[in-house]
Amino acid sequence: MTFRFLSGFGAYWMLLGKVFSRPEKPVIYYRQTMKELVSLGLRSIGIVTIISFFMGAVITLQTAYNTENPIYPTYLIGLGARDSIILEFSSTIVALILAGKVGSNIASEIGTMRVTEQIDALELMGVNSASYIILPKVVATLIFNPFLTLISIITGIVGGWLVGTTAGVITSPEYIYGIQYAFIPYYITYSLIKTLFFAFIITTVSSYQGYIVEGGSLEVGRASTKAVVYSSVFILLVNVILTQLLLS
């Protein structure tokens, strides 16, 4: 078990070595990156927006129902929702959701390319298949995921405001005061730094799982599952480390 983990870990870093070698023809990689920005980035806006909206709403309601005490000012509901969304939800929870959506997509796409010999075809032509397939995905997610995080923060806060005021747990001026109260801009930076690490984990771990597939469609399915599980575990692990490093 330990040997398998270590050899897999070594193979992962060796694959990254191939991924980050010099591109054969930068213009082709640029075109691929544009395609991946659409496929992995733009097409994730919908799910991120919907989930963020409802999570923001739930966070606001839960904060309100758990602070029903006269000694707490009501605007703390807005402050609590804001900090929960910025510090944890929009970076970590959205990353876990994207590990499911984007990670499984990447692993199954690359895994299918492997079992249908498309990767062999690239190698035979003299193309660095790892770099050609994986590098544009890494670059695209590193560029786009911070925007997804910002979209998530805004949508989450709007969702909290809309549902909080509609449900009558907080007034609009109190919520707006709360989300501005004691605001620390560094929290946004912290959230975006985490997003970059998580984006890298999702794309590289999922790509690795797809790239090493051997067999047929069953193995591609297994690779997709592994991609989601391993990405999620690594995201949570790195989250702890980054939180300690960036907030202590």
Binding site: I28, E117, D120, A121, E123, L124, M125, G126
Partner: protein
């Protein structure tokens, strides 16, 4: 010319190729035959460098291919074309983009020149008005022909075909066989074909190598195959009653 000297290869602790040697000449369609699991696909993948060999040597002309690193191999790879068993067309690309891919990657041609070459290659394999189609919209035979067009886009010196007839009806198989034979002669390529299709053997077998359990058991051509006394070869080639009658009549 490709020269293979005493190559050996093990996979998962099993010896798949044992001391195999062969010479493949240009302008000829060289066939590797053998039953499923005999090691012929591994042999082909070793020759093209998709598998690293454990022992022996692979020469492309005067170049010792198996000793080259990834970057040095690239120059030889540009002279290779390969038709994979499942065609291996890129799913996300159209027919035109598939054939244009090696030109995009390795030439400095402008778009019009590339398009002209793509259309020439597609016309050569009898595919017209399909530039905008995706691989999923093509039949099995069309996929193979597009894969051949992609393989010859860079005017290769070496063509490798892994079971080009698998999954095709007998008539389409003959079309693909003829195409491979004609293109080999036209471009004076060294072509190596993996097959267990007996029609291909009798039509294209200018040089045939028979592999059984990772060992080369017999070498000859389509005329010699009828006269061969190799028991394993005869069991493989003349497995059905019709083929046995053919052999008897040849004697």
């Amino acid at each position: 010319m490709i020269r293979v000297e005493n190559i050996g290869k093990s996979l998962g602790g099993r010896e798949v190729l044992k001391d195999v040697s062969a010479v493949f000449e240009p302008g000829k369609t060289n066939l590797i035959i053998g039953k499923s699991g005999s090691g012929k696909t591994v042999f082909l993948k070793c020759i093209v460098g998709l598998f690293e060999i454990d022992s022996g040597a692979i020469w492309y002309g005067d170049v010792l291919f198996n000793e080259l690193n990834f970057h040095a191999r690239k120059e030889i790879r540009k002279e290779m074309g390969m038709l994979f068993q499942g065609s291996a067309l890129f799913d996300s690309m159209t027919v035109e983009e598939n054939v244009r891919f090696p030109l995009d990657m390795f030439t400095t041609m402008n778009y019009e020149e590339k398009l002209e070459r793509v259309n020439f290659c597609l016309k050569r394999v009898n595919i017209t008005d399909s530039n905008r189609l995706l691989p999923s919209e093509l039949s099995g035979g069309m996929k193979k022909r597009v894969a051949i067009a992609r393989a010859i886009a860079l005017k290769p010196r070496y063509l490798f075909c892994d079971e080009p007839n698998s999954g095709l009806d007998p008539k389409t198989s003959i079309v693909i066989d003829e195409l491979i034979r004609e293109i080999t002669a036209e471009l004076n390529m060294t072509t190596i074909v993996n097959t267990h299709d007996m029609n291909s053997v009798m039509e294209n077998g200018e040089k045939i190598i028979f592999i059984e359990e990772g060992e080369k058991c017999w070498e000859g051509n389509k005329n010699q195959i009828l006269q061969s006394d190799c028991k394993l070869l005869n069991e493989f080639v003349f497995a059905n009653a019709l083929a046995k009658q053919l052999k008897e009549s040849a004697r």
